[in-house]
């Protein structure tokens, strides 16, 4: 009886794995999703917010604030492809 | 900044409550020795921690030796000669075993100096990006 259940599980797995190989529609849908690469904006914004907060707290000078902002924007621009 | 001093002061007050006198009698010496002797039949426990009969016997022997007037070193040596070097919690600071201390004391400062050298080498001498 348990061997039967095990076999059923195995067959279900096999069926699921066969889908992307043999079913064109699902395959195309998956590939389409890949193309929408999410840009790295949210990380950049998080870091810029942190720098601004440090500046508002008086931890860093005006000069350093500008320096860091420039640097971070430059860094993350290269990654947005 | 006076806020700072007051806060720190009250924080420090905790320490002043520490007026416990360390016992320097046979009892605290016994406890010290218990922490420095391993139980031979247990997995990695000192005779202070272990509940086994052998540990109890060893603890009794330590007390007897303390009453006899032996020093801490002499008592440790007694056990070492009876059970071997592994009875001590700490490798003896002599001969081959000294490497256990030697290696960190030599290796770490060397790596640290290497690190300082690396930092110096890889430091920008002018802002040019």
């Amino acid at each position: 009886m348990y061997i039967f259940i095990g076999t059923i599980i195995g067959i279900i797995c096999l069926l699921i794995l066969a889908i992307p190989i043999f079913n064109k529609k699902i395959l195309e849908k998956e590939i389409e999703q890949q193309i929408f690469l999410s840009k790295n904006k949210s990380t950049r914004n998080n870091i810029l917010n942190e720098v601004r907060s440090d500046y508002e707290a008086g931890y860093i000078s005006d000069e350093k604030f500008n320096e860091l902002n420039l640097e971070i924007n430059e860094e993350y621009e290269n990654d947005d492809s | 900044m006076s806020h700072l001093k007051i806060t720190s002061l009250s924080f420090m007050m905790f320490f002043t409550i520490f007026c416990n006198n360390q016992l320097n009698d046979n009892e605290s010496r016994a406890q010290y020795l218990f922490d420095n002797l391993m139980c031979p039949v247990c997995d990695g426990q000192t005779i202070s921690e272990s509940q086994s009969q052998l540990s109890k016997n060893m603890r009794d022997i330590v007390r007897i030796k303390l009453d006899e007037g032996l020093t801490n070193e002499e008592i440790l040596q007694y056990f070492q000669s009876k059970y071997g070097t592994s009875i001590l919690s700490n490798p003896p600071k002599s001969g081959f075993y000294f490497t256990v201390w030697l290696v960190p004391i030599i290796v770490l400062p060397i790596i640290f100096l290497g690190l300082l050298f690396l930092i110096k080498t890889f430091t920008n001498t002018q802002k040019d990006y």
């Binding site: 998080n46 917010n49 008086g58 | 919690s89």
Partner: protein
Amino acid sequence: MALLGTLCITISFILSLYSILGSLISINLKTEGLKISARWSSYLTFPVISIGIFLLVYSFVTHDFSIKYVYNHSNLLMEPIYTWVAIYAGNEGSLLYISTVISLGSLLSIKSLQKKIPESVPHITIIMMGILSFFLGVMLFLADPFSLLEFQVQDGRGINPLLKHPGMFTHPPLLMAGLATISIPFAITTGMLISGNYTDKGTEFIRVTTLIIWLMLGIGLLLGSWWAYTILGWGGYWAWDPIENVGLMPWLVLTALIHSLIVQRRRGMFRLWNLVLINIAFVLSQFGMFINRGGPVVSVHSFAASTLGYIFLTFMILSIIFPLIIFLWKYSELLNSRKIDSFLSKESSFLINNFLLLAITFVTLWGLVFPLFSELFGKEPVTVGTPYYNSVNGPLLLILILLMSIGPILPWKEGSTKSFIRSIKFPFATSVFCMIICLVFLSNNFLAVLAFSSVSLVFATILQEWIIGTRNRIKHFKENIIIAFIKLLNGNRTKHGGYIVHLSILMLAMGIIGTNFYQIKADHVLLKNKLFNFQNYQIELTSIETKNFADRIERVAKFNIYKNQSSEQTNNSKKITELEGSNALYPSFNMASVRAGIHSTIIEDLYIVPSEFLGDDKLLIRISINPFISWLWFAGPIFFLGAIFTLWPRTEKH
């Protein structure tokens, strides 16, 4: 039913192998269908292995003693609640748990990374599934949790009595999950290297994952200490036992990694170094698995010694060689990086932080393997115990604490000596003041004084940062003090969450310093109803009872505790509490389990263990005073909150 369990492990194993093969082929032949199918196969390992682990737990709860593992680790008399966690009690069940965790971690990670770095996902999948298939394979061929007992039984042997403690619900699963999931950042970085696409797009995911793993390990370790303190009855919480060390070392390396990941995130530096750190952490976690099952070193923790040990040793060696080859082949991709601007910068302080943490890891590792090392040279076996670690790691930890006051106040890129001195002035003055007070009252131990002063230095630094930041916000934004403080913390969760975690480390330090230097213990024979003076307390033994249970004989001693209300003598003492300590003998395990009576205050714990019952009215106790030890436990929630705060995702946009 056991057969179904084994089948689930088998199916999972096959799925993981298919995932590896499919990914490999699809990378080379560029067949998208196979690539997706292989990825889905890795996802499927989780539901299948979950059925397996559910079946094992079910077997324990329903007392199915036909399964060898259930027989060995449970019995009919066990409190039902422990049947739910008995799977962690031994080797085979732990492997099943670890496999489930790796499978789940893999599922969540790969699904998430498919959206961020899809070009590297097949490679990452190969590595994750390679690791999973190792654990599944070991179970299948050498350590099947579902293997059947050769003979018929009515009852099991029961669980190790030391494991019947609330800690059993949290310490093993957290620790094992933490060690197992180190494979995730390892797989991600190695996968990215192999695919030739080492970008920063994966960094944030790695950073968050590492923090979660570090949090699990840290809490797991602390819970283990708390468990040891409350159940093992020797008033200690850390013995530098090989198994403890092997959980500590990856955590130390992860601590280093968390700090240098901050540099990578902020300034794009240290990419190569972070890769090395992840690899070290992974190797150490495999080393942990080996030590736990190999038996080359003695420990209260190890599962039985067996051939399994050599298998894990081989896997560990492979996990050094394989990444090393990949590393040498591909490391040039990581060389383009910014340089350090100045020695007096946050970046360089993080480097020193890394050095110190790795130094402590090295010392711990060296102490762990030294007995084996000396055996290799034909020398007499030797023990490396707490005194060694205290004397070598102690100073390193002290310097690390001092660094905690310097790093945060150094700026990014370049700081000036002038501004550094300006920032450190008041914290330094505070610590000197503290040092003077300590020297007056605690003059017997200069190291302890130094340690306490360092703690106050760091505390003052954090306080200063928060006061300055809040005051500036009040000045510029006219917010009230509470809003300003909250907005300050919220504005930079990475930094301020880090400060909260540092505070918890300070609390840990207080507990460690207090117990290390100022613990007082003694053995004493108590006579019933006769007062015993110990420090500022009087202890009175009020009763001794013997309770007989089916699986144990328990002897319980009750005490009245009185305390001096002033620093003068005893006439002025008041009863403050009643304590109970017990000593239970489990004949079937030939083991005694001791519970201490503990009276905790913020200053110290009074800790009483009944060592030996010498009659109906005579009791030998071990009594100790453990200063500041509750700070260790309270540090836990603070540590947790700080780490969660750092991790909490932002919802606002720039």
